[in-house]
């Protein structure tokens, strides 16, 4: 029941955003859409965090999603953003399915370091690949939806609407997944893996599934960010990008599927405001915020909302 209510809230908020779209200035719509893209990646990290796993390389799949979208445009002339997001998710999920056999064996710091190494491998490859624009990156074709190309004035709004719809659908599915026995295993894995094994469940399989879902979500996020910004570069796979996603996830907390989107929005606002006021100290503001949240709100900002109930 509780899960349903949070989803209704998320749906209402997203609808409000979509409705308010035309009233918002272009730059605000841009920030909101990027926040939704990053929220999807934070949601992916949240899934892993619930099982006690911190990936220091989630940017790998964010970048794969973005470059899939970019390649579709560059090599096949496909600019449909829905198609880009679906393909981005599929490619990311496929890569994760292969790598998952390896990663599902790792825990703690080693899980983080291996995922970091994998994302840096992609970075190293992209930086040197001429066909994909090396360090300069490539431009994304202007977004279209179902073959229709929105005019200059409304394209941001259209991207926002499609982004919201896809994010809502994805969150709905993730919430459904978290309710299944396989999804419920996360907390048990974090608590005591060996007992989970004694219960007859396979920890490796549970983590593998989680890893693939997380990759698909990040792939969607990457493709959405790509079509929103209109340009992609290898920095999307760099470790600082992964750090940003971890920041958002920790800031928001892991209690609800809505939290990552809230976190991404707050991150976007802190980033924009702090950068505007003092471009040389916005990272410091973020760092202090992160430190305060870890020390005083270990469950994240979300714990300020719901009544303190054991999850």
């Amino acid at each position: 029941m509780k899960g349903d209510r949070t989803l209704i809230i998320l749906g209402a908020v997203l609808l409000a955003l979509v409705g308010a779209g035309p009233l918002l200035p272009q730059w605000a719509m841009f920030i909101v859409t990027i926040a939704i893209a990053k929220g999807l990646v934070a949601l992916a990290l949240m899934l892993q965090l619930r099982a006690g796993l911190v990936s220091f390389g989630q940017a790998l799949y964010y970048c794969i999603g973005a470059y899939t979208a970019g390649s579709l445009g560059r090599f096949f002339g496909i600019s449909d953003m829905l198609l880009q997001m679906i393909t981005g998710a599929a490619v990311a999920a496929f890569v994760a399915f292969i790598l998952g056999f390896l990663l599902a064996r790792y825990r703690g710091i080693f899980y983080g370091l291996l995922s970091l190494a994998l994302s840096m491998i992609l970075y190293g490859l992209l930086v040197k690949s001429e066909a994909l624009g090396s360090t300069d990156g490539i431009n994304i074709l202007p977004s279209t939806v179902f073959g229709i190309r929105p005019d200059q004035g409304s394209v941001r709004h259209v991207v926002l609407i499609v982004g919201c719809a896809v994010a809502f659908l994805a969150t709905l599915l993730v919430n459904r997944y978290l309710g299944t026995p396989l999804g419920q295993l996360a907390a048990a894995i974090k608590d005591n893996e060996i007992r989970v094994e004694y219960m007859g469940a396979s920890v490796r399989e549970a983590i593998h599934v989680k890893y693939v879902i997380a990759a698909a979500l990040s792939g969607i996020g990457g493709a959405l960010a790509a079509t929103t910004v209109g340009h992609i570069d290898p920095d999307m796979a760099y470790w600082t990008t992964s750090g940003e996603f971890i920041f958002i996830t920790i800031l928001a907390g892991t209690r609800s599927v809505v939290a990552p989107f809230l976190g991404a929005m707050i991150f976007g606002i802190i980033h924009t405001v702090a950068f505007d006021i003092s471009p040389n100290t916005w990272q410091m503001t973020l760092g202090i915020a992160l430190l305060l949240v870890i020390v005083f709100l270990p469950e994240g900002l979300w714990s300020l909302f719901g009544r303190r109930k054991a999850a």
């Binding site: 370091l113 491998i121 920041f247 920790i250 040389n280 202090i288």
Partner: protein, 298 residues
């Protein structure tokens, strides 16, 4: 043949630099079990301090040969300002937390230090090329190298050898190994574990700053200098096994030689190959090449 020689010399110089940059990270992880992302910040702090102090030293017309001592001193001074502050002021309250949470805390500190550097030194680049050219050059085969590079090799040897001697041959080293083995029992036995943590963190950070200080004359010192060092150092110490000194040396050699070979034979894979080796080691020997089996805890 000539090219192989070049690859080896380049590789060794690069390895020495990597070792100095990474050995502090492995020391801190070995003793305190902290995956310390502020390591890159200390590298950058060292580079900036060196640029300021050495720049001023040379501008005043003091003997340029002593600028090497100034490089060393700048690393020491800047570390003494920031490292004890961070360890005593923030980190020591966090030791009870999970390894991953402490890593996130050092990430927050890294973000804060990044901007602290910009506040102190601004965003314009600094150049201090003088110490680099002072010593002339030496030749290997047909290639000419600045003699300055040998200083880094020297520092790497002294740092690695000194730390090994300290750990294996002295009373302090024995106590430190006890702390590594079991901090709680050490405390019960009357060892001042807090002091060891403070000294380890400061010294480990000093080594990072030293790496930065002696790199400063060879590059332009710009914001973001420490960002790349963090992942590179991780690659180095993960390959050898985190917390192992010989491991860090081996990791530095492997990464150094592999990268130098890649630059000469296949420039397209230069960056890729480092992290590929790191992933390969993690895949087959997750605790590094120099690791012992560890029991699974229930």
């Amino acid at each position: 043949m000539e090219q192989i020689l070049t690859v080896i010399v380049d590789g060794i110089i690069y390895s020495a630099w990597l070792f100095v940059a990474a050995v502090g990270l492995t020391l801190i992880y070995g003793v305190m079990k902290i995956v310390n992302l502020t390591h890159g910040s200390f590298y950058a702090l060292g580079a900036y301090a060196a640029a300021s102090f050495t720049g001023a030293w040379i501008a005043r017309g003091y003997p340029p040969m002593l600028s090497y001592a100034v490089l060393l001193a700048s690393a020491a001074i800047i570390t003494l300002v920031f490292a004890p502050l961070i360890e005593r002021g923030i980190l020591r309250f966090m030791y009870a937390k999970d390894e991953v949470v402490i890593m996130l805390i050092t990430y927050a500190l890294f973000l804060i230090l990044e901007d602290t550097i910009k506040l102190i030194w601004g965003v314009d680049p600094y150049f201090i090329a003088e110490p680099y050219g002072l010593l002339g050059s030496f030749e290997v085969g047909e290639m000419t190298y600045p003699t300055y590079n040998l200083i880094l090799v020297g520092i790497a040897v002294v740092a690695g050898g000194g730390l090994t001697l300290l750990l294996q041959g002295t009373r302090v080293g024995k106590l430190l190994r006890t702390v590594i083995h079991d901090p709680e029992v050490s405390r019960a036995m009357g060892i001042n574990v807090d002091r060891f943590y403070l000294i380890t963190f400061t010294f480990g950070s000093f080594l990072a700053a030293l790496g930065g200080a002696f790199t400063a004359p060879t590059v332009s010192v710009v914001p973001g200098l420490g960002v790349e060092i963090i992942v590179l150092s991780f690659a180095v110490i993960v390959i050898g096994g985190m917390g192992s000194l010989p491991g860090a040396a081996l990791g530095a050699l492997i990464v150094g030689l592999v990268r130098s070979a890649a630059i000469h034979y296949a420039p397209a894979v230069e960056l890729f190959v480092i992290y590929f080796v790191m992933a390969l080691v993690l895949a087959f020997r997750p605790r590094g090449l120099f690791s012992l089996a560890e029991p699974r805890k229930i």
